[in-house]
């Protein structure tokens, strides 16, 4: 599920959401969307199990909120753990590969190819390695899912510096470490955040899909699977909503950190044209 490339075009991200007024169209779409959903279920006589009414889902959401949210956080912790381990390892590895270029050029194409592997196929193996009921197996799935995108993008960011910027540092007789600290790492930040936003979504989805292959009853993915199997579709949809909300929150927090970090560094992408 390696999805998102750049979630929002940068120029767009800065202008949209700046004032409350900008959110009106989105709010309108939401209201219209849910409204028509509610109405159409009746009008088209859609079967309960295909698509329950939003009002029913909301009721179930409220009624089972304790179970749903605790399951949600259980899964979120798995996703977070995998995110931290996977992204952290990837960034360290990327620094290494950027420092030792020969190794980096040799391994970069392999990392890119590895990124094309459907990691989710390995979920049952992780279940065999780490007890199927333990969160560790899902953390492992999430970690591997995060690893390659963050590695590839971070490495790309570290090695995409204008030659003139490096020349300037050399003219100051700056050592490799200083070049990294003052030029490469700041230049890589936009790439890194871009990848971290992607990874946040992947981690959450990875944890849930990983649970599909087996997991603790406390996990959200299991809740979804079980309630769907028991035809309790309102519960299933409510659980899906929880998953989505947590995923969006995770993504948004990374985006917030990004805004702060990049403002601090001085956003050199001011010139992105619209």
């Amino acid at each position: 599920m390696s999805t998102v490339v750049q979630p929002l075009p940068p120029g767009l991200g800065r202008r949209v959401g700046r004032n409350v007024r900008d959110w009106i169209p989105a709010a309108l779409v939401l209201v219209l969307g849910i409204g028509s959903w509610q109405v159409l279920v009746d009008v088209l006589s859609i079967e309960r199990f295909l698509l329950p009414k939003p009002s029913d889902i909301a009721r179930t959401f409220w009624g089972e909120r304790d179970v749903l949210w605790s399951a949600g956080f259980y899964t979120f912790r798995e996703a977070l753990g995998g995110f931290v381990i996977g992204s952290g390892a990837a960034m360290l590895f990327a620094l290494l590969l950027a420092r030792f270029r020969r190794l980096g050029s040799a391994l970069m194409p392999l990392a890119i190819a590895a990124n094309a592997i459907p990691i989710i196929a390995f979920a049952p193996i992780f279940n065999a390695w780490f007890d199927v009921l333990s969160p560790t197996s899902k953390i492992a799935v999430a970690a591997v899912l995060c690893f390659f995108p963050v590695l590839v993008n971070t490495l790309r960011g570290l090695t995409s510096v204008q030659p003139r910027a490096i020349e300037l540092m050399r003219s100051y007789a700056a050592g490799e470490l200083q070049v990294f600290r003052k030029v490469r790492i700041p230049a890589a930040l936009p790439f890194v955040f871009s990848a971290l936003k992607v990874a946040s979504v992947l981690a959450m989805i990875g944890a849930i899909v990983g649970e599909y292959f087996g997991g603790s009853q406390e996990a959200l993915g299991i809740q979804i699977r079980n309630s769907a199997a028991l035809f309790q579709f309102e519960t299933a949809w409510a659980a899906i909503m929880v998953a989505s909300i947590l995923g969006i929150a995770f993504y948004a927090s990374i985006a917030a950190v990004e805004r702060m970090a990049l403002k601090w560094q001085g956003n050199s992408r001011e010139g992105v044209r619209q």
């Binding site: 490339v5 204008q162 699977r225």
Partner: protein, 294 residues
């Protein structure tokens, strides 16, 4: 392109890298083989050490958790069930089945994503109204919706393709939008001086300018479509594809671990093949000045 922008695919550069030369490609293939050999060696070394020292962290090491690589390769050329066909032929059939679903999903998703990107590029209002939901759509575990999609469409493999399309369309939409908006304002002025129609500006300027971004997304989507096809098969109880094979061999993992590993190898290969196909297409279609970065 003075400043390299971070609109980078998960799988590499937006613009074509250094020119491919024959000795260069050969050298890279050699390095790849070397690294694969090194990984093989690491695997066997870790396994040997783990068995000897009775390692239990991070996971216990034995024949089930870490079969010998040669055992895995051997299993490919043995029947997977009594008197059945060779595992490798079973897996290749499954891979082909899944590949067809993935290909259809990829085509549907990419086309839809492209069209959506064009629509969004022409209306700031549409962007504000729909982009948040388009982004949020990828946080919804599509796996959970899969059974309903199957019933809706009354067809197993078509719903799998739809699920694959769901994972495919998003990167294409975002990058098409980004690419279309990246046109040089001076080039737009030039088109205005020609009194060019909106249609002409789109197809002669914006879309060609967007191609590197679009291919960048297609590289990601190639993998996403395979992943989508595999996970789409899981709840749909489709036996014929790789998803079914994974579930099947996962059940019997403790008896025959090599089969699941072999299936994963085939799945990995499928993902890589799709990815390479897009990379090849990109080399043929996109011509840009070589990047100048350190």
């Amino acid at each position: 392109m003075a400043h390299a922008e971070p609109a980078v695919a998960l799988s590499g550069a937006v613009f074509a890298d250094r020119r491919q030369t024959w000795p260069g490609a050969l050298g890279r293939a050699g390095v790849t083989l070397l690294v694969l050999a090194a990984l093989w060696g690491l695997w066997e070394a870790y396994r040997w050490m783990g068995v000897r020292t009775q390692l239990t962290w991070p996971f216990p090491v034995d024949d089930v958790t870490m079969p010998h690589i040669h055992t895995i390769l051997q299993a490919l050329f043995e029947p997977s069930r009594v008197n059945g066909p060779l595992l490798i032929s079973v897996l290749l059939d499954s891979a082909w089945f899944t590949a067809k679903e993935a290909l259809l999903g990829f085509t549907l998703g990419a086309t839809f994503g492209f069209a959506l990107g064009i629509a969004l590029a022409h209306s700031r209002l549409l962007q504000r109204g729909f982009l948040p939901y388009i982004v949020a759509s990828q946080t919804v575990p599509i796996l959970a919706i899969a059974p309903m999609v199957v019933v809706w469409l009354k067809s197993g493999w078509l719903s799998v393709a739809v699920i694959a399309a769901y994972l495919t369309f998003f990167p294409v939409t975002i990058n098409t939008l980004r690419g279309l908006l990246s046109a040089d304002p001076r080039a737009l002025e030039l088109m205005r001086s020609y009194a060019a129609s909106g249609w002409a500006v789109l197809w002669k300027l914006r879309v060609p300018a967007a191609l590197p971004y679009i291919f960048s997304a297609l590289r990601v989507s190639a993998t996403a479509s395979v992943v989508g096809a595999i996970i789409g098969e899981l709840p749909s109880s489709i036996q014929d594809g790789l998803g079914g094979a994974i579930l099947n061999f996962a059940q019997y993992y403790s008896i025959q671990p090599a089969n699941l590993w072999a299936t994963n190898l085939v799945a990995a290969a499928l993902g890589i093949v799709f990815f390479l196909a897009v990379v090849l297409a990109e080399k043929l279609v996109v011509r840009r000045s070589p990047e100048n970065v350190a």
